[in-house]
Symmetry: C2
Subunit: 152 residues, 2 copies
Amino acid sequence: MENAAITFGARDDKKALEENPVFAPKFDANGLIPAVAMDAESKEPLMLAYMNEESLKKTLELGEAVYYSRSRQEIWHKGATSGHVQKVKEIRTDCDQDALIVYVEQHGAGACHTGRNSCFYRVVDVEKGTDPTALSFNDADRTFDPAAVYGK
Amino acid sequence: MENAAITFGARDDKKALEENPVFAPKFDANGLIPAVAMDAESKEPLMLAYMNEESLKKTLELGEAVYYSRSRQEIWHKGATSGHVQKVKEIRTDCDQDALIVYVEQHGAGACHTGRNSCFYRVVDVEKGTDPTALSFNDADRTFDPAAVYGK
């Protein structure tokens, strides 16, 4: 595999993890790291998914977001079915390198399997002081028909 | 406990989870849901942490971000030590309600224990085509002295 060429840094020194310019991502007990895809232009969150080591390396090689599907237990090249690929503009990692922000250019009509631009289309408006278990729709308008795109 | 008054929705109907205006967050096998704190004004990501059911309810009650510290295994009212509380402006949940975006007004000098405004201060610039394991600093300037704030 080509991505054997990418070798991440060691994680044995906490201070180095925080302050060194070396990418040393932490994969959890299930081999996963959370990755939040954000629209590179609008800065709106699109989705939160997970990557394993192989999918992160594929993401770096392809320049397109590749996740690991926990439900299907397989590598998930986002957009392979729908055409809605995510061109990666920038990846950020956090202080202890156990989370990723992936700024993307979302191709096609949207990131969400429900037919919306973003998966984060519902809001709990804490300041309103209303029932905190009621959600309002933030971006409810569908941008595509999931039945037409995914054929289900 | 006061937060016994908050009751989240049921999670037995996938379609309802996606389309109903009812907050029914999913806590994983460890009882946690990932929560990404974002600056409500700049829309920049600040940190990714986790909430358990109790800390999410406390967040809704207080209007300030309360996480669950995996390392300390305890409820973590962000800013209780540093004074850097996060006033919650809005919470968004995603299609299957297993992730949260928390838009906050970050009080004090910053969100990160390293003394920076954001934990996401390092960047893998995928488009440059350079070594993908090298990181550059995005927001490296410290906004506060962690030793002075945390006393360690």
